[in-house]
Assembly symmetry: D2
Homo-oligomer: 161 residues x 4
């Protein structure tokens, strides 16, 4: 059994056709797992639905606490890309002996041409086979939490040397 | 560097609007890697474009030969689901010291609501971290080639015994 | 109030992921009207779900009877393109004083890149403003039932001279 | 021959994955006409790419001038919905003897589940058969420019009594 903690991010944003803005309603993770015909047992839990630029220290601690306290030892976290690395660091300080994989998307799943489904398949796979530790799975690659940063201009994650 | 061998399957089928039938034109793998913002270097090579029910022994041997002869030690094969396990067995007899991951889709990528992108993210991830051997990555899971079969009625892959 | 008679055709076909074939389950017209934010009152009625190559004379008479007997004077029929012109002729002999517009699609709506939504918007619009008679609305154009044929090689409808 | 004037609006917005905002790059109208297998000859011309809340009087006069000066007598304008009615009024004062149909979308075409394709099919159809005058085609309906307003809370167009 794998636990999937939803925290928001571009991944789950939708278009509000009345206001013409982006917003959160519900997570799309269940629909995405159905679309991917995923048969790995996954317990999906929405911890929060936030743009990661708006996450506070308290939010990150709450996410880390859920990782530590849940029963499962394989965990995927969907998260906004802008502060994914910061949250990974907080989780790494709080959790031991578990494989935690953070992932996200550059384009909302609801917009039809998203990287979200690819990243979800990637994160769920890495979570089952990587050793204990905190990882980021983006762009088809896995990075240890302390060897990666987001290149905001390129919109991708890069290994620190 | 990862090598991706395209062999066809539902994954790459398209709708022929003149004849009202399904057919192969080109692979969609490059477009899918772009959509997934994949930054892992992947050498994509179309070996054949076949419905896996029409594959012959010679076809399977040709696939196995490409796995053996290419430079890369991490290989993903996109393949029809119906005889994926048969091809995996042929590859297993021919290849040593490489991680080969077969994947596919239940619905064509071109039809908009496919499991293909999820499976591709999954297969590329498993190919980077699983030990040498021949694996099948479907439904979010990885199976050794000799411990899985397709349940045709359910349309999913299941572990033997 | 406009009546929409569903008869099948490529428009409503779906992909059967177990058998790898195309089939009919339910019409997608209600979903398409919702997607199009259509606010014209439309009474949707499924008369049959058939590939139009399999329609019999009795089927065409049944469609014509529904056109004649329903209350509405503006009617849209979704229909396979291959014999759309034949059905239009049968309807033209049976119905007077009503505007009947047949439409269809070259690609199933369920496949994501369909002409169906465009054609549905077109047919519903023509049905509200064209004079009484039987019309075919395809490719953005309207044709009287007796001045059009399908060019099967090009996959489009062309005016007879 | 029909002229289609592109002015922007939600219809043509895209998602900027670096900034996480909506923006204009190019119009999607050509792709949409291809998808709809439209065979009506349409001359597509991008006049501007603006959110209609940002349109000035000068912009509206420029649009009206293009309607008046072009050769065609059947014209479709794609336009943001928020001030579509204001532009329609300006066009109505400037143009005589032509059928001008304004349309738009509540959801960007690029987001996959848009009303844009339905509305485009509708507008192109109405432009071919409605009498000279300025019309708005939204929600499957046509309205004279001076008998309609947008209900911003409901996100739809309603007839003034």
């Amino acid at each position: 059994m794998l636990r999937l903690l939803v925290t928001g991010g571009t991944f789950d944003k939708e278009y509000d056709e009345i206001g013409g803005t982006l917003f959160f309603k519900d997570t799309h993770v269940d629909e995405m797992l159905r679309l991917g015909r995923c048969r790995v047992p996954v317990a999906v839990e929405t911890v929060m639905l936030l743009d990661s630029l708006q996450m506070t220290d308290a939010d990150r601690l709450a996410i880390a606490a859920r990782c530590r306290d849940c029963e499962e030892t394989a965990i995927v976290i969907t998260h906004g890309t802008d502060t994914m690395v910061e949250t990974a660091a907080v989780v790494a300080r709080a959790v031991e002996g578990k494989t935690v994989v953070l992932t996200g998307a550059m384009v909302p799943y609801a917009f039809g041409s998203s990287d979200g489904l690819f990243n979800l398949g990637s994160a769920i796979s890495f979570a089952q086979v990587l050793p204990a530790g905190v990882w980021i799975a983006m762009n088809g690659t896995h990075f240890r939490w302390n060897e990666v940063q987001k290149d905001r201009e390129a919109g991708e994650f890069k290994r620190l040397r």
